[in-house]
Symmetry: C2
Subunit: 259 residues, 2 copies
């Protein structure tokens, strides 16, 4: 049994008949992150790649900026705890606490009105991608989504270049899946500058900001974007693709990179 699924007994009703069957559902695991001995957050996640998730989450929140900033990451899977120690200490944590409070999900309202306010610079990467390459990447992306096939209840995310997938993760949360692939790259010392993000999930403003923070010029999803997601992608120079399905896709922002 994989750690990310659990067997359950289900009463299945189908076309008039009914009966008990064994099935699997995705696990939902509370993971508490301590940063420099201070409790920061409890994420509900799929219990895989916990180290990547913790580091990726901290990077998304601006609490870790580079691999050299991470002194140690200790995972206690039994207790559902990750302890991260950083060089930069807890200086900015107060600010992040306040943002959690004022936004409920570490999703700062300050970000939404103007991309500039987030202190992020426009992505100027000259990288390009063809629609055929996007289709091939999504084909591989969906083939890798095993947990989704088994449980129907998780999201996938990948980092790739125009030819191949470099990091892949699944999680019950679309945010977590993306934090996991970024966290893995950070821990492995792989630069994400110029890489693409593939996701199964909706592209809201928060997802675009996660990509912008890592200098990702192309963000592609099987699902829909929101209007704020599109606006931020336009302003931040990110090429935004949605509804990538089979041989179809919509380009919502910076289509000059797609040929």
């Amino acid at each position: 049994m994989e750690p990310d699924v659990r067997e359950v007994r289900v009463w299945r009703i189908s076309e008039g008949s009914a009966g008990g069957v064994d099935d699997v559902v995705a696990r939902e695991f509370p993971l508490t992150i301590f940063l420099n001995d201070t409790e920061l957050v409890t994420l509900l996640c799929s219990p895989t790649e916990l180290k990547s998730l913790a580091v990726g989450f901290l990077q998304s929140e601006g609490l870790v900026t580079a691999a050299t900033d991470v002194k140690s990451v200790l995972v206690d899977e039994t207790r559902g705890v990750v302890r991260v120690k950083t060089e930069s200490g807890t200086g900015r944590m107060d600010e992040v606490f306040r943002r959690f409070i004022s936004s409920g999900c570490g999703r700062g309202a300050t970000f939404y009105s103007a991309a500039d306010a987030a202190g992020m610079s426009k992505i100027e990467s000259p990288v390009r991608v063809s629609s055929g390459e996007v289709m091939s990447l999504f084909k591989e992306f969906q083939q890798r989504s095993e947990l989704y096939r088994n449980t129907g209840g998780v999201h996938s995310a990948a980092l790739c270049n125009s030819r191949e997938i470099i990091a892949f993760a699944e999680d019950i949360g679309r945010h977590n899946a993306i934090d996991k692939v970024f966290g893995r790259c950070l821990l492995d010392g792989v630069s994400t500058d110029g890489l693409f993000v593939l996701t199964s999930g909706r592209i809201s403003s928060e997802i675009v900001l996660k990509a912008a923070r890592r200098m990702v010029p192309v963000l592609a999803s099987k699902s829909a974007p929101t209007d704020l997601g599109v606006k931020l992608a336009v302003d931040l120079g990110i090429t935004l693709l949605g509804f990538v399905r089979g041989k179809r896709m919509n380009v919502y922002a910076n289509e000059w990179r797609v040929n």
Copy 2:
């Protein structure tokens, strides 16, 4: 133009051809809730039913317990602010702030290990529902999901009895959609005791807890549950249905209510 969608110009690639088309995407709106003049949270939501959303959210967080508790709800749509005044004051807000901090999304880790810890009592409602009724309800549920059909980027939620839908809402967030229907019922003085929840979204632990808090005995989703969602539903006496699609459905907990 509906307030919950925005027109965008899209570059559409399909089967080898490409061209610009007009399309609509779901809006993503930051709504800041003030409770008794203190800033509580900023939700990212679809900008409809803001009053219901604010009250439903506060009820989900235990900050509003009954309609009589709500003194006033003032919505300032231009500024994206809702001001709620309650009889009970801000006594419990400190606790909720702490929970936001320790859980990132108002999703308390304390809840997950045992349903008892959440202080919720088991739902003993003798109400029953047939699989045929569930199918009919879901047919109507999906017909009402207009915003989803237009944008592909939102969730729906409904409150119903075994015969008809009583409240329906859509939102870019699955949590928000459910808070909206509960909030509407609270504002309208409609008891939710014995009603069912229908949702397009995944059933995680948090969704089961929202239902349990309102004495909802049946929770049905088009999507998958998580293992914690199933465990809580079993413990709290909630009948949990997943993958309700056409003439099929899975019953994950308390199947005695389904006949």
